[in-house]
């Protein structure tokens, strides 16, 4: 009889019930899935000029040609105006209205012809597309540093063909009626058009001529 009992014990099932453990795991996973952010938000670098005007040396002030400058006025209700080159204070029609996005500002910048008779933004954009293609192509040996270096050169207007194109300077003037979204949209266009030289200008510090001009042109 004793022998029989022993053999029965050896045959006992050693399987452990995992169901409660799985239950608990499920709960934990649900908790982590709901409480986490997988996608990190993006950021946009912005460097503003210092308010301290006295510290600005004469040599730091750069002079750009009139035809290399575009001024953007951001107004209410997602409206946007631009002045290409120097404004003509007697003629408000030099302030033209456009829209945000591909068919608006991007097109204006693309088609802007400088006094040298070329469209620098379009040329640089084309060169950047080629650079991107080279970087992304299969078996590409281009390192990230090389890419950044080339990109920096491009933004300065040095094309890989050896041609030197002028770069545009964009002055962004958001009016008080504009929204933050408008400002970011304008900065976005600078990124898309590879424009390195842009500044967000304070409309309160504009000259009286400029103020009168935009009022005449109906910018608000």
């Amino acid at each position: 009889m004793a022998k029989k009992n022993l053999s029965k014990q050896k045959k006992m099932d050693t399987r452990v019930n995992f169901t409660p453990m799985v239950d608990m795991m499920m709960l934990l996973i649900t908790f982590f899935m709901l409480c986490t952010t997988l996608a990190k938000p993006q950021a946009m670098q912005l460097t503003m000029p210092s308010n301290d005007q006295e510290n600005l040396d004469e040599k730091d002030r750069q002079v750009t040609k009139a035809s290399h400058t575009i001024t953007l006025y951001l107004g209410a209700d997602d409206k946007v105006w631009y002045v290409a080159g120097l404004p003509n204070y007697d003629d408000p029609s030099c302030v033209k209205q456009t829209t945000y996005g591909k068919d608006g500002i991007e097109k204006v910048l693309d088609e802007h012809t400088t006094e040298e008779g070329i469209n620098p933004v379009a040329k640089i954009k084309l060169a950047k597309r080629e650079l991107d293609a080279k970087k992304n192509e299969y078996n590409s040996k281009m390192t990230d540093e090389q890419y950044q270096e080339q990109l920096r050169k491009l933004k300065k207007g040095e094309l890989p063909t050896g041609e030197k194109v002028p770069t545009l300077t964009v002055i962004i003037r958001p009016l008080d009626t504009a929204t933050y979204e408008n400002m970011v949209a304008a900065l976005d266009e600078m990124l898309i058009s590879n424009i390195d030289k842009y500044v967000i200008d304070n409309v309160d510090k504009m000259s009286d001529d400029d103020k009168a001009l935009i009022e005449k042109a109906g910018v608000k």
């Binding site: 982590f32 997988l38 938000p41 946009m44 000029p49 008080d176 979204e181 408008n182 970011v184 949209a185």
Partner: protein
């Protein structure tokens, strides 16, 4: 005889592979997760094509709501504590242990110094309600720095490597941002990170 045997059969599903998978998933989520920091007011950041990632450390987040209310905070609780001590010393506000605990539980500072003590005396549930009506004042104190500027200075003192990130609602009027950025520029803080969402549609165009 055979029938009875079938009925007696034990239905046992082996859970081991399932629990294996679960453990893997759990590990993945635990390692990759960064917890959502509760913000006093939820804001919708605008879209942009910029693909720069925001740094994870040494970040002072400045939150701006559509109504123009301003909050500031950093994830590092030690820095928050140093900031709190600097500010309470400067403004002569005394906080007891319970109020300090409440301060550190909050993700962001949003109460003006004059109301800080009263605000921190509230219950935790009431605090989340009350902070939505508060916000750091941008008005200069006797021609000097504003409270917001003082907080940024305190953050800069607590950690000299602090970077500024502005998380602003897309519908905020530009006038508010102008004032905020102008105050930061006055303090020679000229570099910001603007927090945005990736605009995939525009990027692929």
């Amino acid at each position: 005889m055979a029938k009875i045997k079938i009925q007696k059969k034990d239905i046992w599903i082996d859970m081991t592979p399932m629990s294996d998978v679960m453990t893997l998933l759990l590990c993945f989520f635990m390692l990759t997760s960064t917890f959502l920091t509760p913000e006093p007011v939820s804001v919708t950041a605008p879209n942009s094509v910029s693909e720069v990632k925001i740094p994870e450390q040494d970040l002072l987040t400045i939150l701006v709501t559509p109504e123009g209310k301003i909050y500031a905070g950093t994830e590092n609780k030690n820095h928050m504590k140093t900031m709190m001590e600097t500010m309470t010393d400067k403004f002569g506000v005394q906080l007891n242990a319970n109020q300090q605990k409440h301060f550190l539980e909050d993700a962001m500072v949003g109460a003006p110094m004059a109301q800080l003590s009263t605000y921190l005396n509230l219950d935790t549930e009431k605090m989340t309600e009350a902070i939505q009506t508060l916000g750091l004042p941008l008005d200069s104190i006797n021609g000097g720095k504003s409270e917001f500027q003082e907080w940024v200075t305190a953050a800069r003192d607590a950690n000299p490597d602090m970077k500024l990130a502005i998380k602003c609602d897309s519908k905020t009027p530009y006038a508010t941002i102008k004032k905020l950025m102008s105050e930061l520029q006055d303090m020679n803080e000229n570099r910001f990170q603007l927090i945005t969402n990736l605009d995939v549609k525009r990027l692929n165009n």
